[in-house]
């Protein structure tokens, strides 16, 4: 019964979120000082007025905003996401095509930042005040405050341009056919953008884990464990991880939104053909259907991340499981 209620509440929250996101995106797009017609035909076009009329009609550029939004929403609910005026292709096709690239990038960055951040956080806390701890802490604070695209540019110019260890841009070798491209090619092209993107999350998770671990290290049960003669390794394994992993996982799942935003920047720095570049193009060209499509899509994605965090909590932590079952 409670699960049903939980499910119902979740679905309700998700729907209200989606409605809010789409309405807000639409309003922002309407308020933006971009004329979709100009973005579409350019300023040097000599199209006749008749042709412009037909274009406006085809892409419903002249209808009042409320009617346009209603039409979009109606089609969207029926599974038709509309056509992108920028790419002249169905929005769904564009999103899926681009997301194929982004999803692996985000997944890699997310995993990397989670594992590395957590390990670094633990290590720093265990050796509190040491040189290593100070380096990790400073580095995290720097990474945390540095903009993603700036880090991306540094990484690009060092590893790709200067050292030439990695390719400059794209998700596959130039000129290689799809069936010739190996997994290694794809990974090779993904390393730098994924590294850049993981830097975004690493600082937060490290600092958080370190802080949490420090609290635990000062608690009475650790004192007791020490008194029992447990080694540091045993303390970390038996008590540290058990008490810090859950919050870290939650934090990591909750960072889906930053991941999405960061991906857009990392992709543009590395000319990676993911969803970020499509989003930028949609914004600059006042491509309402594509922008709304991506907004809704990303909202679902982020919502799923947060939901996963909640569910994991329930599954992994018996205290919460019992509390919610009660």
């Amino acid at each position: 019964m409670t699960y049903v209620r939980y499910l119902g509440r979740t679905v309700f929250r998700m729907l209200s979120l989606l409605i809010a996101v789409s309405v807000l995106s639409f309003v922002l797009m309407e308020a933006a000082p971009i004329d979709p017609m100009t973005a579409y035909i350019g300023t040097d076009s000599a199209l006749s007025e008749e042709a412009k009329e037909e274009i406006a009609e085809h892409w419903s550029l002249k209808d009042p905003p409320v009617r346009r939004f209603a039409a979009w929403a109606e089609n969207f609910l029926q599974g038709d996401w509309g056509d992108s005026i920028t790419f002249k292709r169905p929005v769904k096709t564009v999103i899926l095509e681009r997301f194929r690239y982004s999803v692996w990038l985000m997944l890699a960055a997310w995993t990397l930042s989670g594992i590395l951040g957590y390990v670094l956080g633990l290590a720093a806390a265990v050796r509190r005040g040491s040189l290593g701890d100070r380096i990790i802490k400073t580095l995290c604070l720097v990474l945390q405050s540095a903009p993603t695209f700036w880090i991306g540019l540094l990484i690009l110019s060092l590893f790709a341009v200067k050292l030439r260890w990695f390719p400059i841009g794209l998700a596959a070798p130039m000129g290689k056919l799809a069936d010739e491209i190996t997994l290694a090619d794809r990974i090779y092209h993904m390393i730098l953008p994924a590294l850049t993107l993981s830097v975004l999350g690493i600082g937060k998770i490290t600092l958080y884990t370190r802080q949490k671990m420090l609290e635990i290290m000062e608690s009475d049960f650790i004192l007791f464990a020490r008194a029992r003669g447990e080694s540091m390794a045993q303390i970390v394994l038996r008590h540290g991880i058990r008490n810090t992993l859950m919050p870290a996982i939650t934090l990591q799942f909750a960072s889906f939104s930053e991941l999405f935003g960061g991906a857009a920047l990392a992709e543009s720095v590395f000319s990676y053909p993911g969803i970020g570049s499509a989003l930028t193009a949609a914004g600059l060209n006042a491509d309402v259907p594509l922008l709304l499509g991506i907004a809704v899509f990303s909202a679902v994605f982020v919502f799923a991340g947060n939901l996963a965090a909640n569910l994991l909590y329930m599954i992994l932590d018996p205290r919460i499981r019992e509390a919610s079952a009660r």
Binding site: K88, A123, G132, M232
Partner: protein, 540 residues
């Protein structure tokens, strides 16, 4: 004890890093090998960001530049700017200028093996007409009907005489009526052209291969890859030897890349600044809205004249574009209908004299002239996403100041520029084969009706009559004559201050010959036009 633990962790991390790096190195070597394998007869090119993101379907406006690539149009433009038959063998226009008859070439096949006939032309034109909303490049709104007289003859009927229709027929690539699929053609269009799509990853790369059966002779190069990235990434890639052709902005003109040389290619792209010709007043647009239009400074013909002859265009180009570009006084000679006046600029003294005689003198000694208390100052707008236009306006302002005219340069969005365009100068860029642009810029009927058209509010009965005669002309040559006259008439009134004819800069690998003599003048839109004659390119 704990210290060793940390060391172990650090050690493991270091190992991971080393493994990662060596793995990458191994990869790099492998890539070089594969590159050496197929560099024999293939190229990798960068011709600009964003060309390879949308649909490749000519029905939806792809490749409508006037030259052929994957698909051929009925006509095509030639290096000297005139038209020649591409899929059409010959064409004729009826006396009343309403019926265009095209006789098609024989024995041409599409890349899927099917034969090219009049049916395909009819199908293509009808499909575009039906879906005009999806094609913002080829305007068929004046077309009433298109019929196949026989398998080799197509008759197109217009609703009214409209000479620029002929230019449109050079812009619409023909698709096969049987094989056409509006979804498939977004990525894999089939045409009669010299190049066949092998693979298209939107936003990443387009790979084309030579059509060995191309009716106009098979290309010399067998495979070409176009990559999509930003200008800086492309430049870095070129520096590391990954690219054979790369488009660059004029500010890169001073750079060098090993194994590549710089080419500046001629365009028909001119940059000009609109100068409102009417005194500031409240006007009513045909749709009933009230618009504030005009400018009290630029409406003075002497001010416009003084600017036209007084500024030094060479100097402006030097300051704005590193010297890349050619001074422009009108539409360029490489257009069939282009007719720029013969004139000399940089005549500062003469310009000053004109201004003084017109009553513009510097009374308060601040270097800027006044007349009846009105400062000789106006604003020029540039779009914030185009730095080159901003640089151009800033360089113009420097030259104008020498004459005692103050230009304030503003950078903003096109939306705000549109609102300001009737009262201030705007830096425009124009460059297309179709002379219809003259109607848009100089016909009074477009003022306040069409956006970006005749923003100076230029009004001249003789010009309007000539434009109408050009549109109604029953033949292409007659139309060209009229269009040339139009330019003679407005030249003295300077509604637009022409500044520069852009040149497109590319770095070309020393092993590639891009056949400069068969390049057509590049239209507006830096980058892609270099591939207009890719069929003629050779490896040295």
């Amino acid at each position: 004890m704990t210290k060793t633990k940390v060391r172990k962790i650090a050690g493991v991390l270091c190992c991971l890093l080393i493994v990662g790096v060596t793995a990458c190195k191994g990869n790099e070597e492998r890539e070089e090998v594969s590159k050496a394998d197929d560099t024999n007869n293939s190229l990798v090119c960068y011709v600009g960001h964003g060309f390879w993101e949308g649909s490749l379907d000519p029905v939806k406006g792809a490749f409508s530049y006037g030259w052929s690539f994957i698909n051929n149009a009925l006509l095509k433009v030639q290096p000297e700017g005139s038209y020649v038959g591409d899929l059409a063998e010959s064409w004729s226009i009826s006396e009343d200028a309403l019926v265009y008859t095209f006789v098609l070439k024989e024995g041409i096949r599409f890349q899927d093996g099917s034969e090219f006939t009049a049916e395909d032309v009819v199908f293509t034109y009808e499909t575009v007409k039906k879906n005009q909303g999806e094609n913002e490049k080829v305007d068929l709104s004046k077309m009433v009907s298109v019929e196949a007289e026989d398998s080799r003859t197509v008759r197109i009927t217009l609703s009214e005489p409209y000479s620029p229709f002929l230019d449109m027929t050079a812009q619409l690539g023909i698709v096969p009526s049987d094989g056409y699929d509006s979804v498939v053609f977004d990525e894999m269009p089939i045409g009669t052209g010299a190049w066949e799509v092998v693979q298209y990853d939107a936003g990443q790369q387009l790979i084309v291969k030579a059509n060995e059966d191309y009716f106009d002779g098979a290309p010399n190069i067998s495979r070409v890859t176009f990559v999509d990235m930003d200008n800086e990434a492309a430049f870095s890639n070129a520096q590391s030897g990954q690219l054979d052709i790369i488009m660059v902005q004029p500010n890169y003109a001073g750079e060098t890349i090993e194994g590549m040389h710089m080419e500046k290619l001629a365009t028909m792209d001119v940059r000009n600044v609109s100068l409102p010709c009417r005194a500031l007043q409240q006007m009513t647009a045909p749709d009933g809205t009230s618009v504030k239009a005009g400018n009290d400074v630029t409406s003075d013909l002497e001010v416009r004249e003084a600017l036209n002859i007084g500024i030094d265009r060479e100097q402006i180009i030097e300051n704005a574009f590193n010297g890349v570009g050619v001074p422009a006084y009108g539409f360029t000679d490489n257009l069939e209908w282009g007719n720029a006046p013969e004139m000399k600029d940089g005549q500062i003294e003469k310009a000053k004299k004109i201004l003084e005689e017109a009553g513009w003198t510097d009374e308060d000694g601040d270097g800027i002239r006044e007349k009846d208390g009105l400062r000789c100052a106006f604003e020029v707008y540039t779009p914030s996403d185009e730095q080159d236009r901003y640089r151009l306006a800033a360089a113009l302002a420097v030259e104008a100041e020498k004459l005692g005219i103050k230009i304030t340069v503003k950078q903003t969005t096109w939306d705000e520029i549109t609102a300001a365009s009737y009262q201030a100068g705007v830096v425009w860029g124009f460059g297309q084969f179709n002379p219809i642009v003259l109607h848009q810029l100089f016909a009074f009927e477009t003022f306040l009706t069409a956006q970006y058209a005749n923003t100076p509010g230029y009004e001249n009965a003789e010009t309007d009559a000539l434009i109408q005669e050009a549109l109604d002309a029953p033949g292409h040559d007659e139309a060209v004559e009229k269009w040339k006259k139009v330019q003679e008439v407005y030249a003295g009134e300077v509604p637009y201050l022409y500044l520069v004819n852009i040149e497109h800069c590319y770095f070309i690998s020393d092993r590639v010959d891009i056949s400069k003599e068969t390049q057509v003048p590049h239209p507006h839109g830096h980058g892609i036009p270099i591939i207009c004659n890719m069929k003629d390119w050779k490896l040295l």
